[in-house]
Structure formats: structure tokens, C-alpha cells
């Protein structure tokens, strides 16, 4: 019989390549190479260096020696801060995700954007705003002191708990974003079935929802664990000096590069072990939605009480989350040096903003950051999604290796990654098309790309794990090639996950400081470095005003993406 041939022979080469399932390999092999060349190879050198020039295992012996326990203490502190951070972030993030995804109440749309705002907090001024809020002379402790006429401030944020509060505040969005993507894709009939079997809400949470969210929780847990291990500013600010990152910093300051290498190696070893444990845990079970057909969406049953509780909880939550940002705004509006012992700043001014808006140099870094963030994030989407697809759907050797390769740049302290990159790109080589990338525009986007790839990668693979594979098969059976299936079916159905990762990656790129400061050049000064310079010059108000600008910028991005995703994002059930 007469048939329409599906593929006409005059297909372009590109079309033919993209339609082949091996296209995914075409995409991930350069990724493999890049990661190998610029992550693993320098990292391997670090590893070698960690054994010192002739001292062999000495550095390790020294690290683990019981005579001077500072390294071991640091390791322990880092690990337990990280573990607790993961837990607190998970609680806050998943709870918020659930409240905002499942309950409809007045203001939900606004809240769902506001809840992301902490992500926008610029790293440097951001942490400071915490000291202004909860530190010894912070608004809240002093406010309470004044209110009740206390001798002393009733409490202050300090030490490990301070670090954890800051970590929770700044990192719960990892959980929030990945979990809300997963909740969107969760088959509601599972909950119904559990309810029907008599399970209470709590049990449904414990036994159905949380386990089904495992891939996204694992994803976020990995990200948070590693970033906490590599966290520097927060422990510094709260005076927790005995952390791995601090030890690395000290070793490098003292010029003891071998020891620094040892410490970096151990740090990444811990992170990678965590990764491997998590992978194992996750792979034990299946999380694909399997129901036959497609079930009814959002269940109708909502108790009134729950609704009220969720409104209150969300508002209180968001208020707490917004406080540091409000504080930042407050500082940006107050006259430098006048705010001494008062609860709130006594004098206000718009001068800092005026200074910013009249200086033509203000906009350049913003524009730089946007550009570089955009380029890097674009790369992240392409490679991150491809890698995630390969990881979840394809069978090939070296999956775990690829996973580790992608995660390592996230697990290492920013300084170490940046130094590795400088070493790799300060000479001409093929990966950079025989160019010296250091000092050019491209080095920063490349750094952002490598460092933030795990964000897109993780959150996309979590989404993919949830998606029913037979939907893809249906598309193939209808004649759609790999590429079309990917575009028309996989992408829309995992869009929420991809978007979550993209947002994280983009916002991180805008705010990245630790690596940026080591590789920026005058023409590519990013926003974070600009803020740093204001701070460095102790133009505190101006720095905060700059920070506020950054927040506004990110808010705009968030709002736009929320608008874009609405309606186009499908769900996996």
C-alpha cells in the first residue's frame, strides 16, 4: 500500500545526527572530555601532590595524627555541619514545596516566588545581613532586649548553629525546587490509594510521598551536602574556624600546598563517598509512575484546618525568609556609621542608590554577570539535560564515573576549582581552541558551567526518574525519532525539573564569588566582585544597595520563569 515515508532521504546531516539515539553520546562525550581534562586531570594532580614531593603518606599521617587534632576536628565539624544542614534544609524545603504545591490559598502565587528569594541573597552582603539580624547587636536580639528592658541580649546567633541557620536559609531552595518539581509529577492516585487504605496524612508522608520523592531529595541532599562541606563564608562569619575549607585556606596561605592538596583530596573523598551511598540508596527502588492511564489531578479533599494551617505556616515561613533581605534593604537605606547601638538605623538616606545610579560603572558588572550567567546556564541546560538523560535512560559503562565527574567541581571548594581552572587554561590547548582562556570573557562562563552543571544535571535526572518510560515508547512507536520524542515528550514532562535546575544554576552564576575573584578580568568583572569591592572599601551601604539591585534582578528572572513555566509545564502523571 502507499505510505508516507517517515524519513525522506534529503534529510540534512544535522537532522539525521540529532535523530539518532547515539546523539546523546555525541553530546556527552565532549562533556566527558571537558570534565576529564579540566576536572579530573587537575584533580588527579592535586591527588598526586597530596602525597607530597618525597614525603609519601606523611601528609595523610599528619592529617590523621592524634597529636594535633585540628585537621580531624575540622573534618568532623565539616561533616556534621553538612549533615545537619542537609536535614534542616530538607525539612524546610520539602515542607514549603508541599504546602505551596498542594494547597491553594490566597497569595499562593506570590509566595511561590518569594519563597525562592533567599536564593537571590548575594553571598557576601547576604551573610552579613544575618549578623545584623540575629547577631549580638542584631535587630531581633536588641529589639527584644529593649522591649523587655533586659540587661543582656537574650540570644545571639553564633557558632555552629549560626552556620546551620544560614545554610538552611540559603540552601533550602535546593530542596524546595527539586521537591516541588517532583510533587508536581507525583501520581495523585497513589495518595488516594494510601488514604483509602486508611493511612493518616503523616503515614502517607512517611511511606508514600517522601519515598516517592527520593530521587529529588537525594539530588538536593547531594547538592546541599557538598556545598556545605565546601562552605567558607558562613563558618567564617560565625566564628567556626575549624572547618575543612578553613584548613585548606590556612595551608595555602602558609604556602603548604601539599597539605592543602591532601585536605582537598580528603574533602572530595568524603563528598564522593556520600554521593556513592546516595546512589546506592536511590537505586534500590523504582520511582517511575506506573499507573495505567492518567489519573485525576489535584485531589479535592482538603480539610479546612489544613488550609488555614498551611496559610499561616507559609506566611510565617516566608516572613522569616524575607527578613534578611529586608534587613539588607534597611542597611542600604541607612547612613553609614550612624547605626550604632539603636535597634533600627536612626538616619536614612538614598545616597547609596544615588551613588550607584550616577556611576556609569555600576551597570557594567550587572550586564557582565547576566551575559556570563546566561551563556553558562545555556551550556548547563544542554549538557546537563543530555547527561541526565544518558544517566537515567541509557545503558552504558561508566555511569558512576560520569556522575562523580559531574559532581566533583561542586564538591570542591570554589578556590580549588578556580585554581585548577587557571592552571588548565592559562596555556593554549585544544580544548580552548588553542586559546589562552585566562583573561578572556570565556573563562568565567566556563567556570560557572563546570561548577553549576550538577544543578541542572541532578534536578533533571530526578524528574526523569519519575517519568513513566512507556510514554516515551508510545512516541517512538508512533514514528517519532529519538530527538522528536525528546523535544515533544521528554522535555515538556520534565520541564519543571529542568527549570528548577536552570534557575538554581543561573542564580548561582549571578552570585558566584569565590571562584570569580580568582579568574575575573577587568573587562568581565562580575557583579559579585563589584559588590566585594564596595565592601572592601567599607562602602557598606553602597555594597548593600548593590546587593539589593542583584536581588531585584534575580526576582525579575524568577517572575519571568514562573510566567513562562505556567501552562507549558506538563506533569509526568
Amino acid at each position: 500500500m502507499k505510505k508516507q515515508t517517515i524519513y525522506s532521504s534529503q534529510d540534512s546531516l544535522w537532522a539525521r545526527i540529532t535523530r539518532s539515539p547515539s546523539f546523546i553520546y555525541v553530546l556527552i562525550s565532549p562533556l566527558f572530555l571537558i570534565l576529564f581534562g579540566y576536572v579530573i586531570f587537575p584533580f588527579y594532580q592535586t591527588f598526586i601532590q597530596s602525597f607530597g614531593s618525597e614525603t609519601g603518606l606523611n601528609n595523610y599521617k599528619k592529617f590523621f595524627s592524634l597529636e594535633s587534632t585540628s585537621n580531624l576536628e575540622a573534618l568532623w565539624t565539616s561533616v556534621y555541619i553538612s549533615v545537619i544542614s542537609v536535614i534542616t534544609c530538607a525539612i524546610v524545603g520539602v515542607l514549603m514545596a508541599f504546602l505551596l504545591e498542594r494547597y491553594d490559598f490566597p497569595g499562593r502565587r506570590v509566595l511561590s516566588i518569594l519563597v525562592l528569594v533567599p536564593m537571590a541573597l548575594p553571598p557576601l552582603v547576604g551573610v552579613l545581613s544575618f549578623t545584623f539580624l540575629y547577631g549580638e547587636s542584631g535587630i531581633i536580639p536588641r529589639g527584644i532586649q529593649h522591649l523587655f528592658n533586659l540587661e543582656q541580649v537574650p540570644f545571639k546567633l553564633k557558632g555552629v548553629w549560626g552556620v546551620i541557620v544560614v545554610h538552611t536559609f540559603t540552601m533550602y531552595t535546593y530542596f524546595y525546587l527539586t521537591a516541588s518539581a517532583a510533587i508536581k509529577g507525583l501520581d495523585p492516585s497513589l495518595e488516594e490509594a494510601a488514604t483509602n487504605l486508611g493511612a493518616s496524612r503523616i503515614r502517607i508522608w512517611r511511606k508514600i510521598i517522601l519515598p516517592m520523592l527520593t530521587p529529588s531529595i537525594v539530588a538536593a541532599a547531594l547538592l546541599v551536602f557538598m556545598i556545605s562541606m565546601a562552605s567558607y563564608t558562613a563558618p567564617l562569619i560565625f566564628g567556626v574556624e575549624r572547618t575543612m575549607t578553613m584548613q585548606i585556606y590556612l595551608s595555602r596561605t602558609n604556602g603548604n600546598l601539599d597539605m592543602a592538596a591532601t585536605q582537598s583530596t580528603i574533602l572530595s573523598f568524603v563528598s564522593i563517598s556520600f554521593l556513592i551511598i546516595m546512589r546506592w540508596y536511590q537505586n534500590r527502588r523504582n520511582y517511575q509512575n506506573l499507573s495505567k492511564g492518567i489519573s485525576v489531578h489535584r485531589s479535592e479533599v482538603k480539610s479546612k484546618a489544613m488550609k488555614v494551617v498551611s496559610v499561616i505556616l507559609s506566611f510565617v515561613g516566608v516572613l522569616i525568609l524575607l527578613l534578611p533581605i529586608l534587613t539588607l534593604i534597611l542597611i542600604s537605606l541607612s547612613v553609614d556609621g550612624t547605626w550604632t547601638t539603636q535597634v533600627l538605623p536612626p538616619e536614612y538616606t538614598f545616597d547609596h542608590y544615588k551613588a550607584l545610579f550616577t556611576d556609569e560603572r555600576t551597570w557594567r558588572p550587572i550586564w557582565n554577570s547576566l551575559q556570563m550567567g546566561f551563556v553558562a546556564t545555556l551550556g548547563n541546560i544542554v549538557f546537563g539535560v543530555a547527561a541526565a538523560y544518558a544517566m537515567v535512560r541509557l545503558n552504558f559503562k561508566g555511569k558512576t564515573l560520569l556522575d562523580i565527574l559531574i559532581m566533583v567541581p561542586w564538591a570542591l571548594p570554589g578556590t580549588v576549582v578556580a585554581v585548577n581552572l587557571i592552571a588548565a587554561f592559562s596555556e593554549e590547548n585544544i580544548f580552548a581552541f588553542n586559546q589562552v582562556l585566562i583573561g578572556t570573557f570565556w573563562i568565567l562562563p566556563l567556570a560557572y558551567f563546570i561548577r553549576h552543571l550538577p544543578l541542572v544535571f541532578r534536578s533533571t535526572s530526578a524528574s526523569l526518574m519519575q517519568m513513566d518510560q512507556s510514554i516515551e515508547e508510545a512516541s517512538r512507536s508512533l514514528g517519532a525519532g529519538w530527538w522528536m520524542t525528546f523535544r515533544k515528550i521528554v522535555l515538556p514532562l520534565t520541564l519543571t525539573g529542568i527549570l528548577a535546575g536552570t534557575l538554581l544554576a543561573f542564580v548561582q552564576s549571578i552570585g558566584e564569588f569565590v571562584a570569580s575573584i580568582l579568574i575575573y578580568s577587568t573587562s568581565t568583572m562580575p557583579l559579585s566582585v563589584a559588590i566585594f569591592q564596595k565592601m572592601y572599601a567599607f562602602k557598606f551601604g553602597t555594597a548593600c544597595a548593590y546587593g539589593v539591585l542583584q536581588i531585584i534582578l534575580i526576582l525579575i528572572v524568577l517572575t519571568i520563569s514562573e510566567k513562562l513555566s505556567k501552562g507549558t509545564a506538563g506533569s509526568a502523571i
Partner: protein, 356 residues
């Protein structure tokens, strides 16, 4: 053992209406079946009983208790979902045990009960399997086991056997019946298989397009449908438009435009049919009640279609004036071919008179 009463239930989805003005009174311990074409509102009604939808209007009672807005998990209902809704992250055993764990049974109890019910649905070997390693029918059986094992007050089954083969379906059907009789569970059953409905149900509700058409015992529904929809929906039926020529206390003679005349019994008429001389009514004749050979209401025609179903041979027979579907039981005899001539007779008690 609980009765279920639906009072003036209406459910709309936005502008679409799911079901309208339902009034159902299901007796404690009864096996009650919803029957109706796809999309008529069966699942919607079931979901309201389970508590996953709130009725837009009306009330639901379990015995005398108003449960219209009661939480689903407080209703003690076992339900098999049309789409199974198995927990993909659990094994077969874990899925089945879930409801028992909720009810805080001891470990050993749970194991025993799970093993038992797994045997009942023929999944002995599959306890440790992941759900995504099961075939469609196996998954359906897990869903069934999960609902049965908790021995609920009320059992809601939404096409629970649709993916099983005839043999297994029958076995399971018998098991469900046995359990239901043993435990006295009130059971509401949705099926598209009318044989199944007929065989299992105490009473059947026939729905169409959100409205109830008829509620009655299987025999009532089958033999005395209230209208043409029920008559044609339940089983095969030849429906002929005919005019009453003569009528007495026993016999009715009808004739169609082409002059075919048939004789039937007055007692076989729907309460809605206008049984007066000269009225035009519908006559329903089941294909299987038509016999091959000589007898009452003998007709001769030509075969235009042959279908072998194993159990029987179905013919479509063209008789001058009418076309009849005829079902002749296969007793291993020879098949007639298209074009062959065949003699048929219709026992007078096989004619049923309907209104609109």
C-alpha cells in the same frame, strides 16, 4: 456490614456533568454493580462513595451516618482503582501489607494474611517482585489483593478484573463472591462485562450519561428492561418497531410495515409500554432465544454474516421485512455459510414489549 445510601447526588466538573440526581440505596452485605457505557459516571460515583470527590449536591450515608464530607481514610473502605494506583517504590508484599500496617497488625499476622491473599490472586511466587517487573494482569491482581486483605466494611471495585483472562477472572470472581458472602462485605462493583455483572450481582444499576436508567436484579434487568437503552445495552437484542394488531389477556399479535407478524405474551411487557391495539411499540428479541428449525413464529431467511465465537455461532439473517441477529449454540455441528438459507423460530415467550 454497612449499607450505603446516595441521596440526590449530583457531581459536576466545571461545566461538564459527571453524574446527575443519583438515588441509590445499597443494602448491607449486598453485591451491587454499576453497569453502563464508558464515561457514564461509574467511577465518579464510586469515588464519591470512597470520599475522593465531594458531591456538588446531595448527601451520602453509610447506614444512618452522614459521611458526605468524611475523610477517605476514616471510611474503612477497600478500593481497587481503575488505574491500579500501586505504589511503585514498594514490592508486591509491601503493597499488600500497607493497609495492614496502617491497622497496626503484628508482623506475623501481616505476613500470614499477605501470604494468604497472595495465594488467592495467584501471585504466590511474586511476593518480592517490584511492581514494574509485573505484567499488566499481575499488577491488577496486586491491586485487588491490597484491597481485599484489609477486609473492609465496604469494598469498591472499579473494573478489577478487566485485564485478566477468562479463567482467572472466573476464579477470582468466585473468590470475591465467597469473601463477600463470608464476611458480608457490602460490595460495589464496576464492570463493563455484563456476564460478570449478571453472574455476581444481587442488584445491578444501569447508568447512561450520568443518569440512572434502571436498578434491579440481574433477571429483571435482562428479561424486563424498562426501556430500549437498557434492553440494547444489556446483552444483544433485536429491537423491532411494530404495531399491535390484536391484544387479549394473554397474547399480543404485532406486525411491522413489511407485514411480518409475530405473536408474544402480554405478561412480557414493560410497564412503560402502551399496550393498546394500534399503538406502535418496540419488540425486543434476544438473539440466543431464536431457535434454528420449526416452532412458534417460524421465519425463513438468508444468512448474510457468520461469526464463530467458540461457544456459539452468530448469524445475521435477512428475512424479507426484517434483519435478525441470531445466536446458535455451537454443539460441534457444521457451520452454515453466507448465502445459505436458514429456518428460524421465535418462542412467543421470547418476545418482550418495550416503550421508547
Amino acid at each position: 456490614m454497612k449499607g450505603v445510601r446516595l441521596q440526590d447526588i449530583t457531581k459536576t466538573f466545571g461545566k461538564v456533568h459527571g453524574v446527575k440526581e443519583l438515588n441509590i440505596d445499597i443494602q448491607p452485605g449486598e453485591f451491587f454493580t454499576f453497569l453502563g457505557p464508558s464515561g457514564c459516571g461509574k467511577t465518579t460515583t464510586l469515588r464519591m462513595i470512597a470520599g475522593f470527590y465531594y458531591p456538588t449536591e446531595g448527601k451520602i450515608f453509610f447506614d444512618e451516618r452522614d459521611v458526605t464530607r468524611l475523610q477517605p481514610n476514616k471510611r474503612d473502605i477497600g478500593m481497587v482503582f481503575q488505574n491500579y494506583a500501586l505504589f511503585p517504590h514498594m514490592t508486591v508484599n509491601e503493597n499488600i501489607a500497607f493497609g495492614l500496617e496502617v491497622r497496626k497488625f503484628s508482623k506475623e499476622d501481616i505476613k500470614a494474611k499477605v501470604d494468604e491473599v497472595r495465594g488467592l490472586v495467584r501471585l504466590e511466587q511474586y511476593g518480592g517482585r517490584k511492581i514494574n517487573e509485573l505484567s499488566g494482569g499481575q499488577q491488577q491482581r496486586v491491586a485487588l489483593a491490597r484491597a481485599l486483605v484489609i477486609k473492609p466494611d465496604i469494598l469498591l471495585l472499579d473494573e478489577p478484573l478487566s485485564n485478566l483472562d477468562a479463567k482467572l477472572r472466573e476464579e477470582t470472581r468466585i473468590e470475591i463472591k465467597r469473601l463477600q458472602a463470608e464476611l458480608g462485605v457490602t460490595t460495589v462493583y464496576v464492570t463493563h462485562d455484563q456476564t460478570e455483572a449478571m453472574a455476581m450481582s444481587d442488584r445491578i444499576m444501569v447508568m447512561e450519561n450520568g443518569y440512572v436508567q434502571q436498578i434491579g436484579t440481574p433477571q429483571e434487568i435482562y428479561n424486563r428492561p424498562v426501556n430500549r437503552f437498557v434492553s440494547s445495552f444489556i446483552g444483544e437484542s433485536n429491537t423491532l418497531e411494530m404495531t399491535i394488531m390484536s391484544i387479549d389477556s394473554e397474547k399480543v399479535v404485532v406486525k411491522n410495515e413489511q407485514g411480518v407478524t409475530l405473536t408474544g405474551l402480554l405478561e412480557n411487557s414493560s410497564p412503560l409500554a402502551p399496550m393498546n391495539k394500534g399503538e406502535t411499540i418496540h419488540v425486543s428479541i434476544r438473539p440466543e432465544s431464536i431457535l434454528q428449525g420449526d416452532g412458534e413464529n417460524t421465519l425463513t431467511g438468508e444468512i448474510t454474516f457468520v461469526e464463530f465465537t467458540g461457544l456459539s455461532v452468530n448469524y445475521i439473517v435477512k428475512i424479507p421485512g426484517i434483519t435478525l441477529k441470531v445466536m446458535i449454540i455451537n454443539t460441534g455441528g457444521k457451520l452454515l455459510q453466507i448465502g445459505d438459507s436458514i429456518q428460524l423460530s421465535i418462542p412467543s415467550r421470547s418476545l418482550y414489549f418495550l416503550g421508547e
